[in-house]
Symmetry: D2
Subunit: 143 residues, 4 copies
């Protein structure tokens, strides 16, 4: 009984092809790769929203992961084409919470969440520059 | 202000050296590797408890991850020697929940949890064979 | 002084975006990932040539790597879009040799080669089925 | 017919346990991981020879891979304990060539080679500081 995930309109979705390297001896994509796919979706999210993350890092702003969670619902297999959607769940003054949905066609494969804080090069929390916050929260209901 | 994790007596602890490959451009171990280290600790847990996981798989019993969670508290860096502890939090009829603690000396770096179900080669849930359940729950308070 | 690689007409070229996970503390893509990108290009090569590699494996035909070589010419960095080209250098009765070129725009980043043999599920060498050999060698000068 | 590799006396050998994550759907360790194991052995080599590689990088000296080669002779499987040996083949003024042998018990699984150059933070070639060169070439016949 396939489930159908709800991906919000403001999500960014990328296509990911399961690599042979990403499979394991259980014949499916290894679960650690899902965090890598989440990250690849975040990279696309930033690019599409006009957030130059490589430049952010050169400017001394980083978004390390403080918490990551993934629920695995159905396996992904070699060479399958998946869609990985990412969307902001909540953007606070010095942090952001992303949600993720991975699907193959209409089948929900996984759901996830990461919580990240904005820090400088010494790991000290920093507040979102106004413009970046605006780009992050585009499409989110005002709070 | 370092935190000190409580690792139960029935935990199994392995040493993991952070590989260069596991670092990322933020100069720290990438967060996806923590799930790999958790898994390496589980492998040692099984070996030490006399659970031959490779044989289990040949016998058609698998323990796929249904849920994984990690909280990242302090970064790990290249060539550092970490201790990764794993312990059973709960072992139900057809599933098991593991807890994890990663430390460098006395400093807590990360905590995690995985929820796994026992399935056969077709993904159908299976009950723990009695002997395996006993080995899994060794040292746990009876429920 | 950038070099310009010669990619033959019968090559298959894919785009690969460097993942954050793939970078290391030297701020560049870690060299082991190049073998993974080569493999992703081979997967696309098979798909495009009508070679169903997942089906081949279900039929008991595998193409393990016997030899891999990579020459690293210029680094690749996070979020860069690379082109990875793969082409058959030589297809013998029970083996195949692939060549690879990785470029960013017109700059050559790496060149590589893999030598693979066709084996059955027990690792015994097998000859190429005629149709697969034809698909593999499409565009190659007859020998 | 197992082969027996010749590992020179001045080699450094580490033990590596094949991780589940490192297997692929062919039920064996994926070939890209061998480069990672080579690197882990190099890290141990440096540590044992009194070469503080993390400090070298803080001092602006890096050893990027210019060329990597691996020959795969027999597969490695999940949870197997391998020995990975590394030794200097040749140490020139601004470069070093390492050789590698991977074995399981007395069976040779793989042989490899990497060629690396010493560069500063801007990628410019540098000569080996005398003390580092001495530590690198310890046990090598004088040339």
């Amino acid at each position: 009984m396939p489930r159908f995930a709800i991906v919000p309109d403001h999500a960014v979705t990328i296509a990911v092809r399961v690599r042979y390297f990403e499979t394991d001896k259980m014949q499916v994509a290894h679960h650690a790769n899902y965090l890598v796919w989440f990250e690849e979706a975040r990279s696309a999210f930033c690019r599409i929203r006009g957030i130059d993350y490589p430049q952010m890092e050169r400017d001394g702003l980083f978004l390390p992961i403080v918490e990551a969670h993934c629920r695995y619902i159905a396996p992904a297999r070699y060479d399958e084409l998946l869609s990985v959607s990412v969307f902001v769940l909540e953007c606070a003054r010095r942090s952001v919470r992303f949600g993720y949905v991975i699907q193959r066609d209409e089948t929900l494969l996984a759901e996830g969440e990461t919580y990240q804080i904005l820090v400088d090069g010494n790991g000290r929390p920093r507040s979102w520059p106004e413009e970046l916050a605006a780009r992050m929260t585009l499409g989110l209901p005002a709070t």
